[in-house]
């Protein structure tokens, strides 16, 4: 966890230096003020959003679905897997362990690709906790509209790749 943290704060330091060289202290102040303004709007909704996401993870049981997304389940299974992926709770530390449960209980590879793809793209948890507070609902509508078909396409491409290899 601390590696990425050092990296991003390093980026902050470098950008800060660049701004300071070009605009001096007023530039740094203007940059911080705009950061602070967004921070203020997040102050209340971010904790609430994290709380809601955490409760949601508790009340949606998903593990029972693995028998519907086996290797023989085809496009329907790929679509279902993409949806299940989107509902997986939490960040990678919560959802990858569940993905392993699916994999070990007989999900097909294209279906698993769609599941991980669905988790990456839909990510109900991330949507609630970060995207809505920062970007607003319209952006979410646009993003969901644009990426609705992606996990299914990923599953189909994976199916194709497996076919090529065999």
């Amino acid at each position: 966890m601390s590696g990425p943290l050092i990296f991003i704060w390093g980026a902050v330091a470098i950008l800060g230096l660049l701004v300071w060289k070009r605009e001096g202290v007023p530039g740094l102040r203007a940059g911080s003020v705009s950061a602070l303004n967004i921070g203020r709007t997040l102050m209340l909704r971010l904790p609430l959003a994290l709380l809601a996401a955490s409760f949601l993870a508790l009340i949606i049981p998903l593990e029972h679905l693995s028998r519907f997304i086996g290797p023989e389940s085809g496009v329907l299974g790929i679509t279902l897997a993409a949806l299940v992926g989107g509902l997986l709770p939490g960040g990678p530390m919560a959802s990858f362990p569940i993905a392993i449960v699916f994999m070990n209980s007989g999900a097909g590879v294209p279906q698993m690709v769609a599941l991980i793809g669905g988790w990456s793209v839909f990510a109900l948890h991330r949507l609630l906790a970060y995207e809505a507070p920062i970007m607003g609902w319209r952006f979410i509508a646009l993003r969901l509209g644009s990426s609705m078909v992606l996990p299914v396409i990923a599953g189909l491409i994976a199916d194709l790749l497996l076919g090529l290899r065999a």
Binding site: G16, L48, V121
Partner: protein, 179 residues
């Protein structure tokens, strides 16, 4: 502090889901979920702060014209490719990437570029691949998954540019959107 509609949505959501969890799983589970959310908040705050600062500083460094030229509505496929590459290279979790999307938005990137950026970050980001996917799901699966997802961010960007013809999908000005 002013309380906006979005805050109330989250308040309602937390209350409803919390109540359901309480009824079905009891007070211990609810307490555990609250503790988890609290520790997550503590964990992400330093990264969120960095993400917001990066966003604020970047807007001082690049002019609206530059961003519009590279990532604006008329940047074509090249703009989507650049945005995808930037998203793929962006490290960290959503608390870093979304402030950057926001910064790009303020700076004049169009809907297609924003969508390509965040889709590339979420599908192709190295961070998660190396830390989670490779060790937990194995090399073979990860390679197939990655290859299958490679063309998708640009596709998503194209779909987004097509969708914004309809008013429901059109992004508002970033300044009015933060209400």
């Amino acid at each position: 502090m002013k309380i906006a509609g979005t805050d109330l949505v989250f308040l309602a959501l937390a209350t409803v889901t919390g109540t359901i969890a309480y009824v079905r799983l009891g007070p211990d589970a609810v307490l555990a979920a609250m503790l988890e959310a609290g520790s997550l908040l503590v964990l992400i705050l330093p990264q969120l702060a960095a993400g917001l600062l990066i966003g604020g500083l970047v807007t001082r460094l690049v002019s609206k014209d530059q961003v519009a030229r590279w990532l604006g509505g008329s940047s074509g496929l090249m703009g989507l490719a650049i945005a995808s590459l930037a998203g793929l290279l962006t490290p960290g979790g959503p608390f870093t990437s979304f402030p950057m999307v926001y910064a790009l938005w303020i700076a004049g990137a169009d809907a297609g570029a924003l969508i390509a950026f965040i889709t590339a970050w979420s599908l192709l980001g190295f961070n998660r691949l190396i830390i989670w996917e490779l060790p937990l799901l194995g090399l073979e699966f990860s390679v197939i998954r990655y290859l299958a997802c490679l063309p998708l961010p640009i596709l998503a960007g194209l779909i987004a540019r097509w969708l914004v013809r309809w008013p429901a999908f059109r992004l508002r000005d970033p300044d009015e959107a933060q209400e």
